[in-house]
C-alpha cells in the first residue's frame, strides 16, 4: 500500500479548535508539512500573532513565542537577530498584521529581515467575533460595519502582498488560496519557497493566504470557500508579486 496523504509528524495529534471549514487548519497543515519536509523542526521558532491562530503551539511542535497583537514582526526581528541560525516565521491574521501591526510589518519588510511570514487574510477579525478588518471587502458586512464597509468612511481593502512587494527589502511576496486542488498545491509550493528563501538568507518572504471564516461570514463552510473563489480572488489576485533570485542577492 502506498501512502498518498498522511498528516505530518510535526503536527501534533490533537484536534484544532478552529470552526468547521476554517482555512486556518489548511494553513497549519501546510506549514507543518513544510517544516517536516525541509527537516527544520529543530531549527524553527514560531512567532505567533494574536488571532484565531494564537494556539499554533498546541498543534505544531516547534519552539514558539506569543507576540502581542500586531507586533509579531518586531518580536520576530528580535528573535532572528538574537538567533540568526534559527528559522523564524510569524503566523499572523489580517487584523494583526495589517491593522494594528502595519508599522511593524512595513518596517520589518523594509529592513529586509530574514524572516518568513504566513499571513492569513480572511477579510475579518475572526477571534474577536467578526469586526471589520483592513482587508474587508467593500460592501461586506461586519459587526462593526453593520451597513457594510464603505470606502468613504472605512477606506479601501488593503492588498498587503502587492504593497509589500514595492519595498526593497522584500525577497518574496505571493498570494495563495485553497479553493481548488491546484491552488492547494501552489500554496504548498509557495510556503515551502518562502522558508527556503530564509534558509538561503535572501530576506523577507511573505505568503498571503486567502482564508475562509465561515463563522464570521455567517456562511456554511462550502459557501464560504466559494466566497473565497468568487469574491476574494477577483479582488486579491493569486500569484507572485515579487521573487528575488539568489543571484540578485549574491
Amino acid at each position: 500500500m502506498k501512502m498518498i496523504y498522511k498528516k505530518p509528524d510535526v503536527l501534533k495529534d490533537v484536534a484544532f479548535h478552529f470552526c468547521p471549514g476554517c482555512n486556518h487548519g489548511n494553513a497549519h497543515k501546510l506549514v507543518a508539512e513544510t517544516i517536516s519536509e525541509l527537516g527544520i523542526q529543530d531549527n524553527c521558532i514560531a512567532v505567533i500573532g494574536v488571532g484565531c491562530g494564537v494556539f499554533l503551539y498546541d498543534y505544531i511542535d516547534v519552539d514558539s513565542l506569543e507576540a502581542p497583537h500586531g507586533r509579531g514582526l518586531a518580536v520576530a526581528t528580535g528573535v532572528k537577530r538574537a538567533r540568526p541560525e534559527r528559522i523564524v516565521f510569524t503566523y499572523q491574521g489580517d487584523g494583526d498584521l495589517a491593522a494594528i501591526g502595519m508599522a511593524e510589518t512595513v518596517h520589518a519588510a523594509n529592513r529586509g529581515e530574514n524572516l518568513t511570514v504566513i499571513f492569513i487574510n480572511n477579510t475579518i477579525y475572526g477571534m474577536t467575533g467578526g469586526q471589520m478588518a483592513p482587508t474587508t471587502l467593500l460592501g461586506q458586512i461586519a459587526t462593526t460595519a453593520p451597513y457594510g464597509r464603505e470606502f468613504q468612511r472605512d477606506g479601501y481593502p488593503i492588498r498587503m502582498a502587492e504593497m509589500l512587494a514595492t519595498l526593497e527589502g522584500v525577497a518574496y511576496s505571493t498570494r495563495v488560496a485553497f479553493t481548488t486542488p491546484k491552488q492547494i498545491i501552489d500554496a504548498k509550493k509557495a510556503i515551502k519557497k518562502a522558508f527556503e528563501m530564509q534558509i538561503n538568507n535572501m530576506g523577507f518572504s511573505f505568503v498571503e493566504v486567502l482564508s475562509a471564516c465561515p463563522t464570521n461570514w455567517n456562511m456554511q463552510p462550502l459557501e464560504a470557500l466559494k466566497r473565497v473563489a468568487e469574491e476574494m480572488i477577483p479582488f486579491f489576485p493569486l500569484g507572485t508579486f515579487k521573487e528575488r533570485s539568489i543571484s540578485d542577492v549574491l
Binding site: 498528516k7 471549514g21 487548519g25 470557500l225
Partner: protein
C-alpha cells in the same frame, strides 16, 4: 478511528464541514450520521469502490482528518 482500506478517517477530529465531499470528484464521500465528541457528524467513505485514492479529500480537509492509501 474508522479504518478502511483506502481512507483512514479520524472520527473524533472531523467537523462535518464537507469540504472533502465537494473536492471528491468521485462522489465517494458523504456526511455520516454519528455525532463525534466535538459534536459534529463525521464524514464517511460511502462508496469505497468509487474512491481512486487521489488524496484530494485529505488535501482540502482543514482538520487533518483523513489519511489516504493507494492499494
Amino acid at each position: 478511528m474508522t479504518k478502511n482500506k483506502k481512507l483512514v478517517i479520524n472520527f473524533n477530529r472531523c467537523k462535518g464541514c464537507q469540504l472533502c465531499v465537494s473536492f471528491c470528484n468521485k462522489k465517494a464521500l458523504a456526511l455520516g450520521k454519528k455525532i463525534n465528541k466535538l459534536g459534529y457528524r463525521c464524514i464517511v467513505l460511502e462508496n469505497e469502490d468509487a474512491c481512486v485514492s487521489c488524496g484530494l479529500c485529505a488535501e482540502i480537509c482543514p482538520d487533518a482528518v483523513i489519511e489516504v492509501w493507494r492499494i
